[in-house]
Symmetry: D2
Subunit: 348 residues, 4 copies
C-alpha cells in the first residue's frame, strides 16, 4: 500500500488523481526490471517529458545538485541551454554508459532524426550494489531501451521496480516512488507538480516528521537519490532550477543524512506546451509565457511535500529483496518497511 | 527558556557545554540592540572567528546560498579565495551599506592595518521591517561598531536581541538563536560544530518534526534566514561549503516554505589554528591539515541538528515585541511562541 | 582621442553612432569625479538601465564572475531573481558601503517608493589606491548620489573620470571606457550591444593583438575590472549571463593576466521594453519575447569586440594623473598611454 | 612542424623540454586513431594523471566550464569531491557512453579493484561529424580501451590523431595539440603547467594576435574544445579550478567566437605526489602542501600561454583529411592550415 492508504499524508496541498508524476499531463514512465538468478537485481526507469520527438521539441529544464557524488549525465548542457532533448533514464551507477548508448540508439532511430549528430543523453543513477552484482553489466543496452519503449501514462509502478529494483533507503528496501500536488492560483489556473524518485540513500528515517524506530537498520547512512520533478506550470529554467532545489527540502524532512557519499540530484522540467522549444520557436524571437518570480512560491511548497511523499511511497511500496552485495561478494537481503509497524505508527 | 530546557532535543549528537556557537573555541559574539520609541526595533550582531587581527590572520570559509534573495555582502570574494578577513556582521536589509562602513572603520583602525587599502566586509541581513522603521537609518555606523566591540565568548544572548531585535519567524517573534554539537571521531579527536542564526522566515512551523498549531499565524511564509556555522575541524573551503549547505537540511526540517522571497545563506568557517591563513603561511607553500571527504559526514549530520535547534531557540528565547510595520506604515505587534503551549506540546 | 580615431578598430561588427553603451536606447550614464588636493583622486559612475523608476520596472539581468576578488554588491539577488532594481554604481573598493547607502537614499526618495523596505543595491568597484587616498572616505554618499543624478544619454566621458579617476591599467592610466556594436539579424532586426568598463587591471598589454612595448610599466599585473553590458535584444537572464561571460573574451584579448588579485565582473542586462518586469507583468503569467539560444552567437562575438575596444578606449582617453599611493603612503604618478607611440604603432 | 618551429612563440614563459603536457612528470598520453574506409575518421585520446592505480590514488582536480554545450561525463563528482579517479578519455560526442564503458572495463580489471562498485568515469568530447560518420558507433569500446592502454610519457602525437582525427577548428583541420610552460618561483621551486587540447571550434583565427586571412574558411564558428591542464604545483582544487578557467584566456586569444554551440571545458589536475589522495591519506587528518592564493598568478599566465600554443599546435600539426559529413550525408574534405602561408606570415 502507498503511504496515503495508511492515512499518512504529508503537507497540505492535494495530490492529483494518480498521486504520481504522470498527473502532469503528457509525462510517460516506463520500467525495465532486471532480476535474474541470485545476483542480478537491477533495472532502468525512463521518464519522457512528452510523447513526441523530444529531440525536435526540446523541453525547458534545469538541474539542481545538492551533493554531486554521482555520475548524472547531461548536466552541463541542461545548465547551459536550459533544456533537455532526450528521455530521462534512471539506472545503476555502472550502467550510465550503457544508458547513454541506449538513449542514443533510441534517438537516432526516431523518425526525423536521421541526420542528428549530437545528442545530450540525460541519465541519473544510484548505486544498487548492496543487492545487485553491479559489475556484471546489467541492465544492458537493450534492457534499458525496453524501459524507454515501455513508457506510458497512467499509474506508475513503485518500489522494487525498474531503476529501484536493487536500491536501499535507510537500510530498508527503497526504490521508485512518486507523488504529486495540485496548486490553485488566484487567477483560476491550477498547476500540477509531480515527483518521481529513485531512493537509495540514508540517515535517520522520519515518517511525516516522526522518527522511525521499528527497524534497527533505519540508521543506515549510505547512498544517493535522484529526483525528477515535472510541472505543467510555464516556468523558465531559472525557476525550474529553484523548483528542483526545493525538492531537497522534502529530502531533508525524511531524515536524510546528506552524507559525503550521496549523489543528490533534482531534474525539473516544464511540460507546458507553449514553453516547449520546437524548431519553429528556435528560429526566431518567440513569445513565451512565464510565471513570474512573485508567484512561484506555492509550487515550491508543493514540491517539498510531493518529494517527501514520493520517497515514503518508495519505501511503502517496496517488498523485501534477496540479492547479492557486490562490495563484499556475499548474498544479501534487505527488508521492506513493516506495514504493520507503520499502521500502528500512524495510530499513535 | 531554551528548547532543550523544555525537554525537546532534536537529533542524537550531544551539544557543547554552552549549546552555542561559542562552544567552538575562540569564536566571539556581540550584539547591539537598537530599540527606540515606538518605531525602532533593530540592531546588529557580530560574530568574530577569532580574537586577533582577522585581516592579518584570515580564516578559511565558504558561503552556501539556498535562495539568494538577499544582500549578503562579501560573497564573491569568499567564494573565490576560500576565506574571509573581517568580523561577520548581521543586521537589517537597509543597513548593509552602513555595516560595511562599520567593518571598514573597525578594520582600518586595527593595529597593523594602517596601510590596508582593500577589505572584503562580510555582512548578512534579513528584513525586520515588520517591526522596525527600516527606512530610518538605524542601526547607524557607530551602533554597528558597538556590536563588534561587544563581541565576547561565553553564553550568547538569544531572541529579540542584536540583529534579531525586529525579526519574525513563522509569524512569531524570531531573532537570534544558537546551538552546537560535538562529534567524536574514531581517531579520538572531538570536533565541535556551532551554529548561530538570524531567523526571519516562514512556512508551517514544525517543532522537532511535529506541526505547531497553537498559534494561527504560524503559517506566515515571508522572510529570510542567515546561518553562521563555525567548526574547529580542519576543513578545506570545499568541505566548509558542503557543511554550510547541510544547514539547509535543518532549515527544511523546521517547516520552512523556502519561498521566492527568502534569502537563505549559510556562511561556514573553520577556527582550527593550523588552517588559519597567516602572513607567513600566505608567503610560500604551506602544510595544512585537512579532514578528508571520507570523514566529514558526521559533521554534516551535526550541523543539520544544530541548525534546527538554533532556529527553535531563536523562537523560544524571543519575547513579544511591539513595533512598527514600515511596509504598511502602521503599529505592529508580534507574539512570542507560547511556552505554555510548547510545554504541553512536548508532553504529548 | 579614442582608439578608432587612431584607425585601430578591433573586430568586424560596426559600432553604434556614439560607439558607447548609450547606443543602447534608454541607457543613461553619469559621472562624479572627485579630485581634491594632492591625495584624493576618485569618484563614481552610475549606469541606469532606463530613465523610469527602476525599482518598479525591474530589468532582466545577470552577473558573470571570472575572478571574484572584489566586493560587488547585489550579486546573489541578481543571480537568484534574474533582475536588478536600482542604478548600477561603480566606485572605489572602500566606497562600496557608501555607494549602497547612496543608492538606498536615491531609491527611497523616488516617487512611488515611499513604502519600499527592501532594495538590492548594485555596486561594482575597483581599487584606486595607487592614485587615491582610498582610506579617506571619498567619494562620500552625496558625491555618489551626484553621479546618479548626473546620468544622461548621449556621449560618455571616458578616461580619468568618475569611477575611473584614479584607476590604473597595465601600469598606465586607465579608467572609464565604452564601445558598442550593432548586430543585424536575418529577420531584419538590428540589436545593439553596449559595453562600459572601469579598467584597473594588468597583464601584458596587447593593442588589437599586438604587444605594446612603448612603456616599460605595461607589464603591471595588479587590479580588477568591472564590465557593464547593455543590450536591446530580448535576452532571458540565462543568455544575458552568457553574454556577460563573453566579455571576458575581450578582456583576455587585451593581454589580461587574469591574476589572483583581480576582481573581474560582468553585469549584463536587457533594455528591451517587453522584457522589463513591471508590476503588471509581475502579477500573473506574462508573455515575454525571447531570442532563442540558436540565435545569440552574433551578440556574443559583438560583446567580445566591444569589450576589447572599451578597454582600449579607457586607456586612450585617459590623461596622466598625479596623486597618492595609499598602500605605500607616497605621492604617485601614472602616465597616460602615449598617443604618439600609438599612432606610430598603427602605422606599422 | 609545430608552431614554435616556425618561430612563433606566444608569451614569455619558457616551455618544458617536450613542450607538451607530458612535461608534467608522470602524465601519460595515449591515442587510438580510428580511420576506416571513406567515412570513419575518429578516435580517442587518453590522459592518465599517473601510472598507478588512479582509483586507489585519486588525483585533486577541478573542472571549469565556459560554455557547457557538451556531454562531459563525471563533472559533478569532480566538482563535489575535488578529485578524479580514472583516466581521462577524449573522444567524439556520440562515443561518450562507450568511453564510460571502456573506462569502467579498464578500472574494474585493475589489480586491487575487484570489489570496486562505483566509478566516476571522466570523458570529454567534441563533435567530429564534419569528417566522420559519427552515427556509426566508432570508436567502439575496445578501440577506446586501446587508447588507455597505449598511454605513455614522452612526446605526444598531435594533429589528426586520436580524438582529433576528425575534428575541425576555424574551418581548418584541428585536432590534438599540446604545449607546456615552466614557472620559476622566488623560493627556487620550478613548477610546470602542461596543456593538451582537442580543438574543434571556430571564430576568426588569430595567430599570436594577428588575423589569419590566408584561407577563406577560417571564419567557421562551430564546435567545441576540451582542454586538459596538468601541473606539478601543489594546488588545491579551488586553485585548480581557477587555473583551468584561465585556459579560456588562451582560447579567447586565438579568436574563438565562444558561440552558443560550443562546449568549452577545462579539466585541471595536480600531479604533485603529496596531494594525491591515497587510501592512507583518506583515512584520517592529513597534512597537505598547498600553494597559497597569493602565489598562483604566474601559473595563471602560464596556462594562458600554453593553451594558446597548444591550440595553434593542433592546427600546425594536422594534415588535410578527407572524410564524410554526417550531418549532410556527403563526402567532405578539410584542409590543413598552410605552412607556407604561416611561414610568410611570421616573416611580416
Amino acid at each position: 500500500r502507498r503511504l496515503r492508504d495508511l492515512g499518512i499524508a504529508p503537507g497540505v496541498f492535494a495530490p492529483g488523481p494518480l498521486n504520481a508524476i504522470t498527473d502532469v499531463a503528457g509525462v510517460l514512465v516506463g520500467h525495465a526490471t532486471v532480476s535474474e538468478g541470485a545476483t542480478i537485481r537491477t533495472g532502468a526507469t525512463a521518464i519522457l517529458a512528452h510523447g513526441g520527438n523530444i529531440f525536435r521539441d526540446k523541453v525547458p529544464a534545469a538541474i539542481a545538485v545538492f551533493n554531486g557524488y554521482g555520475k548524472f549525465a547531461g548536466s552541463t548542457q541542461i545548465e547551459e541551454l536550459g533544456e533537455f532533448e532526450t528521455p530521462i533514464v534512471l539506472t545503476n551507477t555502472l550502467a550510465t554508459g550503457r544508458a547513454i548508448e541506449a538513449i542514443h540508439a533510441h534517438m537516432l532511430a526516431q523518425p526525423g532524426n536521421s541526420r542528428v549528430v549530437s545528442i545530450n543523453a540525460v541519465v541519473g543513477e544510484t548505486n544498487d550494489s548492496r543487492l545487485n552484482d553491479i559489475r556484471a553489466g546489467r541492465p544492458d543496452i537493450s534492457e534499458i531501451r525496453a524501459a524507454i519503449d515501455a513508457a506510458s501514462g497512467g499509474a506508475v509502478a513503485e518500489g522494487a521496480v525498474g531503476a529501484g529494483t536493487g536500491t536501499v533507503a535507510f537500510g530498508l528496501k527503497g526504490g521508485i516512488g512518486t507523488s504529486s500536488r495540485r496548486v490553485a492560483f488566484k487567477s483560476g489556473e491550477v498547476f500540477t507538480v509531480g515527483v518521481l524518485v529513485q531512493s537509495n540513500y540514508g540517515g535517520r528515517l522520519l515518517v511525516d516528521g516522526v522518527p522511525w524506530n521499528a527497524s534497527p537498520t533505519c540508521e543506515d547512512k549510505d547512498g544517493s537519490i535522484v529526483i525528477v520533478v515535472a510541472t505543467d506550470a510555464p516556468l523558465c529554467e531559472r525557476n525550474l532550477k529553484r523548483l528542483g532545489q526545493r525538492s531537497f527540502g522534502g529530502l531533508a524532512k525524511t531524515g536524510a543524512a546528506l552524507s559525503n557519499g550521496s549523489g543528490d540530484y533534482a531534474l525539473a522540467f516544464s511540460t507546458h506546451e507553449s514553453v516547449r522549444r520546437t524548431p519553429e520557436r528556435r528560429a526566431g524571437i518567440v513569445m513565451t509565457p512565464t510565471l513570474p518570480n512573485e508567484l512561484v512560491s506555492p509550487l515550491f511548497e508543493a514540491v517539498i511535500e510531493a518529494t517527501e511523499e514520493a520517497i515514503l511511497n518508495s519505501l511503502c511500496m517496496a517488498h523485501t529483496v534477496e540479492g547479492y552485495d557486490a562490495g563484499s561478494d556475499k548474498p544479501s537481503r534487505v527488508e521492506a518497511i513493516s506495514m504493520e509497524a507503520l499502521a500502528l505508527y500512524k495510530a499513535r
